[in-house]
């Protein structure tokens, strides 16, 4: 589904953020990307739907080359859902309008169709009563669940999560992770940048460990948690799991 091969990216002439990154996510697979901050994991996931350009290598999404100038990027992006660290709901629109806008403007669904779909997804994330509120009236956890519903409303073929729980208070993390676990169990293809190792050990098929722009380790979940091969991954795991 997602094929990333030999991707190199520089900021400016000298600072290389991604170094020869190669990996893939198969259909129905859940891949967790972790690593210390500044390791390039967010940048890599943003390259997948071309929110970030990269200079070398290629990424193929469902058979379409992302970094081909002829690719219709808006059309391609509409097929992949993305959830951001800071939710990025549209503050001037009501919750239901947040869910409907792209359905109508991008997919060309009728307003009634979009509202029906939106309500169904709000029910799924348990937020039906908030449909007519504005994002600022909701808690962080609720906003992030709306953001997931907004992405799902587009019937995506895969979902990208960029640190979806990093900006949340601890008591709100589980309500967001619950939604993501359900999604994974339904067989959604997911690429998730996160530090939530509990989530990784529960639903991930594979774990990718990045450091300084490189993919240091790309292993099956059991191998990664059982016996990480690289020293850097061992260090990272011991730090993150010690508390």
């Amino acid at each position: 589904m997602i094929e990333i091969s030999h991707v190199n990216k520089w900021y400016g002439p000298t600072f290389q953020v991604l170094k020869d990154c190669t990996t893939s996510v198969a259909k129905g697979e859940v891949v967790v990307v972790c690593g210390p901050s500044g390791s390039g994991k967010s940048t890599l996931i943003k390259c997948v739907n071309a929110l970030e350009p990269f200079q070398e290598g290629q990424i193929i999404l469902d058979g379409i080359k992302v970094n081909d100038p002829k690719t219709d990027l808006p059309k391609l992006r509409a097929r992949v859902g993305m959830v951001f660290q800071h939710f990025e709901l549209f503050p001037h629109l009501r919750i239901i309008e947040n869910l409907c806008l792209a359905q109508e403007k991008v997919l060309g669904r009728s307003h009634d169709e979009a509202v029906a779909k939106g309500n169904k997804l709000l029910e799924r994330v348990g937020l039906t009563v908030h449909a007519n509120k504005y994002p600022a009236e909701l808690s962080g956890g609720q906003q992030q669940r709306v953001a997931i519903a907004r992405a799902l409303a587009m019937d995506p073929i895969a979902m990208l999560f960029d640190e979806p729980t990093s900006a949340l208070d601890p008591e709100m993390i589980s309500e967001v992770l619950d939604v993501m676990v359900d999604l994974a169990h339904e067989g959604m293809t997911m690429m998730v940048v996160t530090h939530e190792m509990g989530f990784a050990s529960k639903v991930a098929h594979r774990v990718i460990f990045m450091d300084k722009g490189e993919i240091v380790e790309d292993a099956l979940k059991t191998d990664f948690f059982g016996s990480p091969r690289s020293e850097r991954a061992q260090k990272f795991l011991s730090k993150i799991l010690s508390h």
Partner: protein, 230 residues
């Protein structure tokens, strides 16, 4: 000193002052603000675009307009617009353009420079995550601007835009150099016809002051309301 003042001249000329003068002033202010906002937003988008050339053209335009006294621009446009019209249409002689059209074009062009800087600040005040989220949903650049970025930028900037419009309302009085009967022009016509300069100019000042004051108060109220909603 005020013995020989005749304030009745004001009462007698009220219909002319307001029905002709003030309605012209308000119309010019309203249309200029609207046109300036549309044109200004376009310039702001040009300035923020990733095409360097568009950005420099827009920047040059803004600097140019903001470095010239408004009176001079009004004058120049009044004499230039007929020739530009001739050049554009290929007519054999300069196109006749009414004083209203000429001053409207001037104010739109001039105010666009100021509005564009306000809108630019407004657009830059929106976090980068918003257009990123819009793109991730498949919205095109134009759709993201229209539905996500500009509505928020406009809302953030509304008080400043309205304040600029109040300044514009006062600036429209400069069309007197074209002897157009806007509110000030009408007042000065009556003043000179009846020899009542002091009365008429005092009254004109009072009217501009009152309207601007009330409008500023309205903007402050609106600002407080927007602040609560957030």
């Amino acid at each position: 000193m005020f013995d020989n003042l005749d304030f009745d001249v004001i009462r007698r000329s009220l219909p002319y002052l307001f029905l002709d003068g003030m309605s012209f002033t308000l119309m010019l202010t309203g249309l200029s603000a609207l046109g300036g906002l549309v044109f200004g937003t376009l310039i702001a988008l040009m300035r923020l675009s990733s095409y360097r050339l568009l950005g420099s053209i827009a920047g040059l335009y803004v600097d140019f307009m903001r470095s010239l006294p408004l009176v001079l621009v009004i004058f120049w446009f009044y004499f230039l617009v007929p020739y530009i019209g001739q050049w554009l249409t290929g007519a054999s002689r300069p196109i006749r353009v009414g004083a209203f059209t000429s001053s409207l074009v001037t104010f739109i062009m001039f105010e666009a420079a100021y509005f564009s800087e306000i809108m630019r600040a407004g657009i830059q005040s929106i976090s980068k995550g918003q257009p990123a989220a819009a793109s991730a949903l498949g919205l095109t650049y134009a759709q993201s601007m229209r539905y996500i970025v500009l509505p928020q930028a406009f809302r953030n900037m509304l008080p400043v835009l309205l304040t600029q419009t109040i300044v514009l309302f006062q600036d429209t009085s400069l069309v007197y150099v074209l002897s157009i009967p806007d509110f000030l022009g009408a007042a000065s016509k009556v003043a000179q016809r009846d020899g009542r300069l002091v009365e008429m100019y005092l009254f004109a000042a009072a009217v501009y002051f009152a309207i601007s004051c009330v409008a500023s108060y309205g903007v402050r109220r609106l600002q407080a309301r927007i602040a609560i909603v957030r």
